[in-house]
């Protein structure tokens, strides 16, 4: 906008109007941006200063160095990432086919699906975990003589607690539903799939070659929100006593306050990186390559 060459300028719209209009919104935009930035940056900066400022030595990055050597860091981070990946796979496997099917052949069920998927939002995690732990506690007694006994033990394997995946799938449903619904709303699923069918495509071909490629940004945001949720979920993991990343941060904060804050800053950076990667994947789809 700013670099308009002199040759084309005279033909353009009256310069006063063109220049004068955006100015007022720009002031407001700036003000809002500053307030929002303060809200987010002040705690961040405070955390950062806390981690690098040693009362005796002054500036030091020791706390960050200690993260990687801290007991349990790698294990809990990998566990949380693993849980996140499996949760994303499972929740997409559950919702995407259901949502496509509902859009294509049962539009009336859409509200039902929406309500079901949004429901977890109104159930507080504490209620949720109370239910789960009750089942886990009582289940073995009732199922002792059946094959399910083994199952209920297996899902609580501390190396990979499947029960957390199941819980996170439920928690992630509203976010995944919203993202995918927006994505599916942006394309005309019915017409596109009919066009593809008409050109000889089988149903799997329609889903994988037509719908999913056009849903990339919706899928990316669903995946990102789920991952962020899993990486940040504390209540359920703590009360079922599994050592996920947030639980580990909480555990070490008692003994090494500086390291725990450093970990928080560090995990924020990781999350931002992931967000950047995912949103650029979505942007690439727009430009169409």
């Amino acid at each position: 906008m700013a670099t308009v060459t002199p040759q084309v300028a005279p033909a353009a719209t009256p310069p006063a109007a063109a220049k004068g209009r955006p100015r007022r919104p720009r002031v407001w935009r700036g003000a809002v941006l500053v307030v929002a930035a303060l809200y987010f940056l002040v705690p961040l900066l405070a955390s950062f200063v806390f981690t690098v400022d040693d009362p005796s030595e002054g500036f030091t990055l020791d706390a960050y160095g200690q993260i990687f050597s801290a007991e349990g860091f790698g294990r809990s981070l990998l566990l949380s990432l693993g849980l996140g990946v499996v949760t994303i796979a499972l929740v997409l496997l559950l919702t995407l086919p259901a949502m496509i099917a509902v859009r294509l052949s049962a539009p009336r069920l859409r509200t039902v699906l929406e309500v079901v998927c949004t429901l977890p939002l109104v159930v507080p995690p504490i209620t949720f975990v109370a239910g789960i732990s009750t089942v886990l506690r009582w289940g073995p007694d009732y199922l002792a003589s059946t094959p399910f006994y083994q199952t209920i033990i297996a899902v609580q394997n501390p190396d990979f607690p499947v029960v957390l995946v199941l819980a996170y799938v439920v928690l992630a449903l509203p976010f995944v539903y919203r993202s995918l619904d927006a994505g599916l709303g942006a394309i005309d699923v019915r017409t596109l799939s009919e066009a593809a069918r008409n050109l000889g495509a089988s149903w799997p071909h329609v889903v994988f070659r037509v719908i999913i490629p056009n849903l990339r940004s919706g899928l990316a945001s669903a995946g990102f929100l789920t991952l962020a949720l899993v990486l940040g979920e504390f209540t359920i993991a703590q009360l079922l006593s599994f050592q996920t990343f947030p639980v580990w941060i909480y555990t070490i904060s008692g003994s090494q306050a500086q390291v725990s804050v450093a970990v928080s800053v560090f995990s924020l950076l990781i999350t931002w990186l992931l967000l950047l990667v995912l949103s650029s994947a979505g942007a690439r789809q727009r430009s169409g390559s």
Partner: protein, 361 residues
């Protein structure tokens, strides 16, 4: 490439309480362009979707070249389709869109691209192969959709109101282009539309549907001049209903005696159906009629005239007469001397237009 023969045999389809198709019987000859015309909800799109395989009739069969395809899945049918809404795959460029069907059939890439380029030239857009759908205008998108539909050389082409999302000028040029392509490829084409002008100008034959059954199928001129039923007369073009009296095998209307088209009805009081362009209007101070409204359309002007007995009639007069026939002018109204259709009288003479006037004249 040759067209197939398509036959709808006793199709019935109901959605809940509404009957979309009610015993539809229609045969489309090879290489013919037939337009399915009717008001919305008349079942024309349902019929097309039954042929494409997106809809299954409750009863009846769809035959292509005498083979029953009623239960064949949509992806195994030999019919290309162009949709009402833009249906290009947003993630693929134009070339890949056109060659989508060939890719499904595992045609080698080189052959695919060659064919896509061939089709791009056919639709007059040879340079846009690398562009994405969102970079194209609506008319271009529908052209590409057309190219995609004929890429596999189907024997039937289905057009589901492909022009309704476009603006008037593009609509007219594109419909001429579709017709040109269809004639040169000799492909059997079924064109669904609610626009009577589109149907009349493009089709070899027009099938008028009403409430899921066939009202009349005929070539455009016959349909316009000799509508088989009052519904067709209303729906295709505009009709005046003037009170008349049957005398022998002629009918008295507006003081004139005109021959009756078809058998003379037994009733004496009848409605005479006349097109606005067969109504002649001449300025005359004691003519008994009065011009109420005049809408100028360039080459013609449509007048709403109040007759001596209080009924109203529409008349199309040459555009250059519009000035001397301005509203408020006293006029004489007469009819062109030619056979007219009559319907059993309802004693009310008025003008009815079943569809909104087309915005392209």
């Amino acid at each position: 490439m040759n067209g197939a023969r398509v036959e709808f045999r006793g199709l019935r389809r109901r959605f809940g309480a509404t009957v979309a198709l009610d015993n539809l019987n229609l045969t489309v000859e090879p290489g013919e362009l037939i337009a399915l015309l009717g008001p919305s909800g008349c079942g024309k799109t349902t019929a097309l979707r039954c042929l494409a395989g997106f809809e299954h009739p409750d009863e009846g069969q769809v035959l292509v070249d005498d083979k029953d395809v009623t239960r064949v899945p949509a992806n195994r049918r030999d019919a290309g389709m162009v949709f009402q809404s833009y249906s290009l795959f947003p993630n693929l460029n134009v070339r890949d869109n056109i060659s989508f069907g060939m890719r499904v059939r595992k045609v080698p890439a080189a052959r695919r691209h060659e064919r896509a380029q061939e089709l791009l030239e056919l639709i007059g857009l040879p340079h846009i192969g690398g562009r994405y759908p969102h970079q194209l205008s609506g008319g271009q998108q529908q052209r590409v959709a057309l190219a995609r539909a004929i890429a596999l050389e189907p024997r039937v082409l289905l057009l589901d109101e492909p022009l309704s999302a476009l603006d008037a000028k593009v609509r007219v040029t594109l419909r001429e282009e579709i017709r040109r392509l269809q004639l040169s490829l000799g492909i059997t084409t079924i064109f669904v539309t609610h626009d009577q002008e589109e149907a009349l100008s493009m089709a070899d034959r027009v099938a008028v549907l009403r409430d899921g059954h066939l009202e009349q199928v005929a070539d455009p001129a016959t349909l316009y001049d000799r509508p088989a039923t009052p519904f067709v007369a209303e729906f295709v073009g505009t009709m005046n209903h003037l009170p008349g009296t049957v005398v022998g095998d002629r009918v008295e209307v507006l003081g004139q005696s005109l021959p009756i088209d078809g058998p003379a009805p037994s009733a004496e009081r009848v409605e005479v159906l006349v097109r606005p362009e067969t109504v002649l209007v001449t300025p005359e101070s004691d003519g008994g009629a009065l011009v109420m409204v005049s809408s100028f359309r360039g080459s013609t002007a449509r007048l709403r005239v109040q007759l001596a007995d209080g009924t109203e009639a529409l008349a199309d007069v040459p555009g250059h007469d519009a000035l001397r026939l301005a509203p408020g002018t006293k006029v004489r109204v007469s009819l062109v001397e030619r056979p007219v259709l009559v319907a059993p009288g309802t004693e009310t003479g008025d003008v009815r237009t079943a569809v909104p006037e087309p915005d392209v004249v």
